[in-house]
């Protein structure tokens, strides 16, 4: 296998000609993109364009019909995929936070490292407290998700993913369910992460944020990448009419 051959100078995530269908509906029609280590990329596009599906495929939450997705050289599109190995490399944050409602914020963060990585409780708790602090939720450790605002819950979800020490973080429209005031606190947390050198793939509708944080922006429509480029050129001089139309509606 080529797993061992991966070196940090190669793309950390490499997506090649990915096709994905739900029944008769083809949602990804040959998507390719590379993400370098430490890079932040944003995928934007209208609803139903396949952007969420794409990042879910990276994490093997959805399987693909053809093509290749490699994370640090680990091929995702194979029947004998070691899911655990993949999940250790890739963290994911969802639109609806999906915290465990019967666990406190701290317990949510501690659960996976203890159960999956079998790390000792003391060590996990120390790390979890540091992570809660990092997402600026000090003092909320013992609150249940139901007692936290949407933005706070989403930051717990980020801390929960980080506790597994991933190399790549996937963010699936993580601010879409939040009210405008709390959007900012979540975006700040992601910005901190990016500044620390975390590789991030974001699906987002926050254009201002994408422009500010992204190294590279991809615009998808109807299952294909229509246009991509660094934010400086992408927003100023989009060439494709579909991209221009989308941007004119959003900005």
């Amino acid at each position: 296998m080529s797993d061992t051959a991966w070196t940090p100078d190669q793309p950390i995530v490499s997506i090649k000609d990915v096709h994905k269908s739900f029944g008769d509906l083809e949602v990804l029609k040959g998507v390719s993109l590379d993400v370098k280590k430490g890079e932040v990329i944003c995928i934007i596009g209208p609803s139903g364009s396949g952007k969420s599906t794409l990042i879910r495929c990276v994490n093997a939450l959805n399987d693909i019909q053809s093509g290749s997705i490699k994370v640090e050289g680990l091929e995702v599109n194979t029947p004998n995929l070691n899911k655990l190995e993949l999940r250790k490399k890739v963290g994911m944050v969802f639109q609806q936070y999906n915290l465990f409602p019967h666990k406190t914020a701290l317990e949510n963060v501690m659960m996976a490292p203890m159960l999956v990585l079998k790390q000792p409780q003391e060590e996990v708790e120390k790390k979890a407290r540091a992570l809660v602090k990092k997402v600026r939720l000090e003092g909320k450790e013992n609150n249940y998700p139901g007692e936290l605002s949407g933005g706070q819950q989403q930051r717990v979800a980020i801390a929960r993913s980080l506790a597994m020490n991933p190399d790549v973080m996937l963010f699936d429209e993580v601010t879409a369910a939040l009210d405008p005031e709390t959007v900012k606190e979540v975006l700040t947390t992601i910005k901190d992460l990016a500044a620390d050198g975390m590789t991030c793939i974001l699906v987002t509708h926050e254009m201002g944020f994408a422009r500010e944080i992204a190294d590279h922006i991809y615009f998808t429509d109807r299952g294909v990448i229509v246009e991509h480029g660094p934010p400086s050129t992408f927003f100023k001089s989009a060439k494709d009419p579909r991209t221009r139309e989308f941007l004119s509606q959003i900005l």
């Binding site: 939450l61 969802f94 409602p101 019967h102 249940y144």
Partner: protein, 251 residues
């Protein structure tokens, strides 16, 4: 104590319709107490067994093996669509004839499953059929997205079931379980038809022997079941409160 007994003995003489015989005749007191004790034992054993049956059944219903699911479905249909009274009669008088017998004293052949045994089996499976459905609805109430988040963190299926699905499903199930167990305790009275010496059986026997005690026995019947079921409901409600998660499932 003497005066107390004397009071009720005189009451019975003055008002023959109110013969509280079990309050002054030690032999009758004994019958009431053993009946009560049998009812309590029968209830506790059936409640425990029916909950175990419910959990196992709900687990089997989620099995990938089709005939296992069909088996559980058949079991539920059989026990839910027939009256418990008919089940008790059927189990004891029909099935009871075909069970092996043994002779403890070397003379009299005794079936290996006594009438109490059949009452326990029949009532537990009766309430268990409802418990399977109750637990299944609880399991189905856990959102897929919550399980997906656990999956994305690298937890395996067993861990997801044990640490995420079951704790949440159980909380959802508790109110319905509460109802069903109350019904079960009340249904234990029907074991009278196969001569299980529980409370109803003993009280009916008393007023068959002493017809003036009928009203007094009826009063006691109601009182005992109100108190017995009351204790169960109080316990279950307290349990429900203890299991409640702040900010979850209250809106």
């Amino acid at each position: 104590m003497e005066a107390f007994q004397e009071f009720f003995r005189e009451l019975a003489q003055t008002y023959p319709k109110w013969n509280f015989i079990y309050l002054y005749d030690p032999a009758q007191t004994e019958r009431v107490l053993t009946g009560l004790w049998t009812t309590i034992k029968l209830s506790v054993v059936c409640v425990a067994l029916s909950v175990v049956i419910g959990i196992i059944g709900a687990w089997l219903q989620g099995s990938p093996i089709k005939w296992l699911r069909l088996l559980v479905q058949g079991y539920i249909q059989f026990f839910r669509n027939t009256p418990p009274l008919v089940q008790l009669l059927f189990f004891y008088f029909a099935l009871g004839q075909f069970t092996p017998t043994y002779a403890p004293d070397g003379w009299v052949e005794v079936p290996i499953i006594s009438n109490v045994g059949w009452a326990i089996l029949s009532l537990s499976f009766f309430a268990g059929a409802f418990n399977v459905e109750i637990f299944r609805s609880g399991i189905e109430a856990v959102p897929d997205s919550t399980k997906e988040a656990a999956d994305a963190l690298g937890m395996n299926r067993l861990q997801i079931y044990r640490y995420v699905v079951l704790p949440l499903a159980f909380r959802v199930s508790l109110p319905s379980l509460n109802n069903n167990l109350v019904n079960l305790v009340k249904t234990t009275t029907q074991a009278i038809v196969i001569a299980v010496p529980e409370l109803l059986y003993q009280l009916v026997s008393i007023y068959n022997d002493y017809s003036t005690a009928q009203n007094a026995c009826m009063v006691l019947m109601f009182l005992v079941y109100i108190v017995l079921v009351g204790i169960l409901v109080m316990g279950m409600n307290k349990w429900e409160r203890n299991m409640r998660i702040p900010g979850y499932g209250q809106n």
